[in-house]
Each structure stands twice: as structure tokens, then as C-alpha cells.
Amino acid sequence: VIQIIRSPIQIESLVNQLRQPEDGAVVVFDGIVRNHSLGRETLYLEYESYEPMALKKMEEIETSARSRWPVNRIGIVHRLGRLEIGEASVAIVVTSAHRKAAFEACQYVIDTLKKTVPIWKKEFFVDGEVWVEGEVPAGRG
């Protein structure tokens, strides 16, 4: 299951949709909007995406994870638009027969998603707003 949505992520229904009798492990990562960033108090966030490319990159991540770990099902759901503190912006669900594969694949999926999927977030503070952009690697640019 790979989705980009604009409504709250229903994590329980995603898990129930994916889990099957042969699963011995279900690992869930919930990415949550926190109330602070670099010492400033966050009011809310806005996410935007280049959706066709983002969906393609998410599918590539799933394919890549499947080639590395013996997992059963993978769910990747990202939410866009305005999100309040405490809401989930992204959910990853990985099911497998044994926990090691599910843990490792889940970490790989979220780490890779954050690096390669074209989704941007803007943080809104009491006294301003800022786009969060990835680091420019040292020596480049």
C-alpha cells in the first residue's frame, strides 16, 4: 500500500489491512509533528509534494526493501497539507514472519523516504515560518 493523502492517517486500519496469518511481526513507524524545532515553539506544519514523482520514489523504496529483506507486506502513507502538533505525517508498516527483517526494513524505508522522496515541510512559528530543507553535503554547492 503506497499512498499520499490529505486526511488523517488511519494507522490501525492500515495495519489491519496489511496483516496476514503468516506474519509473526508487525513493525509500525509513526512520524509525528512535534511541538518544537531548534529551540522554537512550532504552531503547525504544512507539507507539499511533487506527487507523481513521490509515488514513484515510494514504490522504488518498497521494491528495494523487498529485495533486501524477507518481508511480507509494506505500507507507506504520507500526509500532505496542514498538520497540527501530535498528528502523524507519515506511517510505515512492515510485516514479516520474524521481527528482525521487519525492524530493519522499516528503518530502511523511513530513512530512504526522508532522503529521496520529494516532499517538503514548512514550519510555522509564532514569529515566522521557515522551509525545512535537507543539508547540502559538505564540499558541494
Partner: protein, 88 residues
């Protein structure tokens, strides 16, 4: 030749549009499209240091060939990201 360019996040706000048409007599590479964009929107000057580009939904580089009908997008590094930006 005209090429439609999609813009996202801070770059979109800087230009004031989420898609623009870049017109050049001849378009050969991503670099030519960026030069055309810079000519039409001087405010993007300086953005090239932390820029990513895609052609037809794949990450591309300055020398990637571009032809009419390609879907080109320029955008900042993704929010959690370390994808190597275009070197200037």
C-alpha cells in the same frame, strides 16, 4: 522551443508560480533550462547552490538532456534529505 517547468516549496514561493514556461531558442540540457528560468526570474539567482532537478520523475543533473514534452521540475533538497544537490 518551450518547456514547462514545475517548481516546489521555497523555489515556488520565490518565483510566485508552481509552473512556468521557459522559452529558449534552443534547449539542450537542464542547465539551459535553469539559465532560461534565471533570465525570466532573476530572484532565483543564488538558489542554484542547493537545487535538485528531475526530468520525467527521475533525479537529473546539469548535463541531462532535455527535449520538448519532458516534464522538468526544480526544487530544494527534500526536508529530511541528503540527496546530493546539483553541483554548481
Amino acid at each position: 522551443m518551450n518547456i514547462e517547468v514545475l517548481l516546489f516549496a521555497r523555489l515556488r514561493e520565490l518565483v510566485g508560480h508552481d509552473r512556468v514556461v521557459v522559452q529558449r531558442q534552443e534547449l539542450l540540457t537542464v542547465r539551459d533550462v535553469w539559465d532560461g528560468l534565471r533570465a525570466q526570474y532573476p530572484q532565483v539567482e543564488g538558489f542554484g547552490k542547493s537545487l535538485l532537478v528531475s526530468v520525467n520523475h527521475e533525479f537529473a543533473v546539469w548535463d541531462t538532456a532535455v527535449k520538448e514534452g519532458d516534464e522538468l521540475a526544480f526544487f530544494p533538497p527534500v526536508s529530511g534529505g541528503e540527496e546530493t544537490p546539483l553541483a554548481t
